[in-house]
Symmetry: C2
Subunit: 135 residues, 2 copies
């Protein structure tokens, strides 16, 4: 098949997807990485900041600013771990969970709009292939 290189196609598509996500997140005053952090917390397995850094593929030092801002806004809380006082347990607040639910719905809508350009069978193959290719 003759087509542009994967790097070119994927980077352009990703730019489009991120721009669509931003139209959802900006009205909520949420940055991209802040959303990623909320989403990781919503998925459960990220008790400490170290775990959270690993789960989001981010550096622990870059996480701190995001958590500071999210905590200021009352979307997450950091509480010292009684078992090991070096750790700080990060958790969503009620507001944080509602924010996450709202953003996820908006992003899902954006994805539907984007993928609507594909015939159904091609769309399914695309999604399956993506999941299979991702490391």
């Amino acid at each position: 098949m003759d087509r542009p290189e994967l790097g070119v196609l994927l980077s352009r598509l990703l730019r489009d997807v991120l721009a669509r996500e931003e139209t959802v997140l900006r009205p909520e005053g949420l940055g991209m990485w802040e959303y990623v952090v909320l989403a990781a917390l919503g998925d459960g397995d990220a008790p400490t900041q170290s775990d959270l850094a690993a789960a989001t593929g981010r550096d622990k030092t870059r996480l701190i600013g995001n958590l500071d801002r999210l905590e200021e806004r009352g979307l997450v809380v950091r509480t010292p771990d009684p078992a090991d006082r070096r750790n700080r347990i990060v958790a969503l607040t009620g507001d944080g969970r509602r924010m996450l639910t709202r953003c996820r719905a908006g992003i899902r809508e954006q994805e539907e709009a984007l993928l609507a350009a594909l015939p159904q069978s091609q769309r399914e193959a695309f999604e399956r292939a993506l999941v299979r290719l991702v490391p």
Copy 2:
């Protein structure tokens, strides 16, 4: 279908693709953007630096460092446009074209290796969908 968000899937896949490209480009001493510039020149339509900036979606000021380095290595030449002396025509040299051909072949190999994980029909649907989705 229940799957991770497109942004997550695409950014991970793109990271993998770029890492594979780098294994091809690094031995040639070529940076990612330098390769992008060579590829745009190889595709023909990019006479002036302005055109080249537009074709690669890059800023004209960021292009300059890449062109400087490529010219030092003898992979491209910049010649003043006799018709409008403000313009500088950028063109591949013989070495530049050979470098491009070599890198393209290596990158194509890497893509084949990556896509080999997919059954043939799914792979074809994936590639068609990608091309259709890209803006």
